[in-house]
């Protein structure tokens, strides 16, 4: 599995007057991986995606998608031939029927897969002759997803793909994403559904206030992030525990809770040197990693 980046940015910045929506973002999204992009609302996820697709121009920094410069309009246009994008809110042309919509979009992509189109039309039960503005939200979401899935892009970018889907729909969506990934499509999606991300993502990027705070494989996060709960015979000195890897310390009486992104063993050793009474280590789920990471900032 080659590890070239399908998306690579260097100090990408976007400011609107004095407000910086994206600050010095250096992102690297690997080929043939499923990468999740997490962040609070307004953290800069959509702005970043729009810069990658040439809809917004960066204020500073640079980036490439599939090796082509995002700031070069000609190159960016070529790249869009091989990138599928589903925006938040799954926008579609209300005045077109389902059939017209499919005909319109498929005309731009020679790699369109009629067999996948037919299968998804059948599975999603979309009425061909109905106008998009008459479809329910769930059906519109499915149609928007169909338009991306029936292609053979090198990169699929999705902004909150499960929004508007019921749990069955979400399960189906994840299965399709996994199938596409197995076919060689690199996937980059932003989501608020931490549970979904934990199941299918290979890699996680957490964005907060325009800056990249976490950029790691999910395996690494699972292996190294730990919460360590310690009880001492006295009030524990927080200063002793400011070791590298420790992100947050909370003390209450004789108890101390340490949130570490790595180096849990060093924390335990230090605790034992200080005659700790009880040590409890627990893994940290992605939701807590996310909440702790954005809280600190």
């Amino acid at each position: 599995m080659t590890n070239e980046a399908v998306i690579l940015t260097q100090a990408l910045t976007k400011s609107y007057g004095h407000a910086e929506a994206v600050r010095g973002l250096s992102l690297s999204v690997g080929r043939n991986r499923i990468t999740a992009f997490l962040g609070r609302n307004g953290a800069g996820k959509s702005t970043t995606i729009k810069m990658l697709l040439g809809m917004i121009r960066p204020t500073a920094g640079s980036g490439t998608v599939l090796g082509k410069q995002i700031a070069n309009t000609g190159e960016n246009r070529e790249v869009r031939q091989r990138v599928a994008y589903v925006a938040e809110d799954k926008p579609l042309y209300g005045y077109m029927t389902v059939e017209q919509t499919i005909r319109f979009f498929s005309s731009f992509y020679p790699d369109w897969r009629r067999d996948v189109e037919r299968k998804l039309l059948h599975d999603y039960e979309l009425p061909l002759q109905r106008k998009v503005k008459m479809l329910s939200k769930g059906m519109r979401t499915k149609l928007a997803l169909l338009l991306a899935f029936a292609r053979r892009p090198d990169l699929l970018i999705l902004d909150e793909p499960s929004e508007g889907l019921d749990p069955v729909g979400i399960e189906y969506l994840l299965q399709v994403l996994v199938a596409l990934s197995a076919d060689g499509v690199s996937i980059f999606f932003s989501s608020h559904q931490i549970a979904e991300v934990e199941r299918v993502a290979d890699h996680v990027c957490i964005l907060e206030k325009g800056r990249l705070l976490v950029d790691a494989s999910l395996d690494q996060l699972r292996q190294f992030y730990r919460r360590i709960d310690l009880v001492f015979p006295f009030s524990p000195p927080e200063g002793e525990f400011r070791i590298s890897g420790v992100e947050r310390i909370q003390t209450s009486g004789h108890q101390m809770s340490v949130f570490a992104s790595r180096n849990a063993e060093a924390v335990i050793e230090r605790a034992r040197d200080l005659n700790v009474v009880s040590v409890e280590i627990a893994p940290v789920g992605l939701r807590d990693i996310f909440l702790e990471t954005v809280k600190e900032n």
Binding site: M1, N32, R33, I34, E171, L174, Q175, V178, A179, S181, A182, D183, A195, E198, R199, V200, A201, D202, L218, D219, R222, Q223, Y225, R226, A264, E265, I268, E269, V279, E280, I281, A282, P283, V284, G285, L286
Partner: protein, 131 residues
Amino acid sequence: MFFKLTPTTGQPLYLQLMQQIRHGAETGALHDGDQLPGIRTLAEELVVSPNTVAKAYSELEHEGLLELRQGSGAFVCVKRRTRSLADQVQVARHRIRDLIERLREDGLLDEEIRRAFEAELLYPAEIVTRR
């Protein structure tokens, strides 16, 4: 064979899958020559990234438990080494059973016993020997 991967424990999914496949080979649920589903099929079934399945299969191939044949899939090879490993696991389980009985006699609840095991397991091996 049924696999169940839990994203919320502190263990990478590929390791969980590897363990469950090994467990299957040890307990006899998987026999020598059995075919495991292809990477794509298993990934879709478990709804996990194909990279997870691929990594698990690849590591098990290194260990000698699986044989990956181009185009046909992954086949289980239960060698003598694995069988003796299965025996070791049987012995270990007897020891653990005895320990759990003794802890229960001491008055510990099952939940407390489980948490104690989990906490100790999260200590990397080096710290344990240093003790």
